[in-house]
Amino acid sequence: MSNRDPFDDDVFDDHLDADALAEQREVRALLSSLPDPGPVPPDVVDRITRTLRTLQEQDAGRTPAAGASVVPITPRRPQHRPLWLAAAAAVVLAGGGAVVSQLASDTSATSTSASVAGSSASPERTSGDGARGVAPDTSGRVYASGTPYRRADLVRQAAALLAPSPPPAAERPGAAGLLMDSTALSACLRAVGAAAGSLLAADLGTYEGRPAVVLVVTGRSGREVVVADQDCRPGAATRLASAPMP
């Protein structure tokens, strides 16, 4: 598809007299001068994305959870960007706190996402339609709590992600703009050697002061916590730590 010169005579009928051709050129110039509509409005992108995601879920033999979130139709991340950075349709929080996204889970179909306002609130799983980032082949709780994970306390801290009432989220300015990207999450799981469907919980925080993603997965020998840096993708992931969990 190409943009052509609005005065390109190739587009005109071959059987026009001079006056008619002049009129044709005028109208073509007029039409060509109308402003471009611009990009697809975000709300249209969102509804189309949801529709396509629903189709995808149906194809996969799954019924999407109520209010299930979707992979937004937005420009792909450049490969060098950190896993968690995404531009659009984030679960945005009032007051700037943690971001919590419940990925589509067959076992928690009514819980889709939650946002936590303020710095002291705990991430809660509630229904809502503002969620984004369903993973087609991952399930589990996904948080961006900003929790400072420590080597000595890693297992206990990770276990808290599975608790009915997860621990309070640390204040994390800027976290509101983060988005869990299902594709990137799947890639991250592969990068650290975990199966795509093994995710129980993920949290965006720090590990020994370094930006990290903490993944609680089910492995062959049981649950384990795996910590990787946030630029977690095949070929680039740095596995910072791992430990079996009770």
Binding site: H15, L30, L31, D36, G38, V44, I73, R76
Partner: protein, 223 residues
Amino acid sequence: MTSDSDDASDAELLAAHVAGDPDAFAELVRRHQDRLWAVALRTLADREEAADALQDALVSAYRRAGSFRGDAAVTTWLHRIVVNACLDRVRRARARPTVPLPEREPASGRDEHASTEAALDVRAALARLPESQRAALVLVDMHGLSVAEAAAVLEVAEGTVKSRCARGRAALAALLQPDSPAAGPVSGSSAGSGNPATSSDVRPVPGGTPAPPSRVGSEGERA
């Protein structure tokens, strides 16, 4: 789909989607959605109608991807589906009764609005053309496609595209004449209200179609 999809061709993405890649179709949509949206909005001149048409089209493309034979570019195929979705909406809407407009209001005379009003006039006039002419003009004159590309999208001969464009331009010229009896009311319209299907601001053109162009060589479409 891995990050390699950034480099994959449209055809490769479509094939990957057919093969079950969960991300390939979304990537394809990302690449072309703005252009497809422009076609839909320009054809329907109504935001909501355009959104519905685009959604219908993409759903159709998603489901029909397996039937893509590769005899046209994927983007041509996508444009075709979008145009057809738009024209389906136009036809369905024309089957519904329309409400006659009140008499045309006098022009405001405000210079600062002149260009905007002119644009609205053009859009409203475009919306009154037969859908085949409208689609051809949208693709060729507004969207910048070559005649060959538009012919591929519309699945007609290049001569037919030229003929439709010529007739459409001539009809537009007549509609945009200030004193033309065919010039319908366009005042107070907006970009989203030009669709005769959904808007009440379009008065039917006598005879159901715009006056035929007086200086176009042929009434019929040439292939």
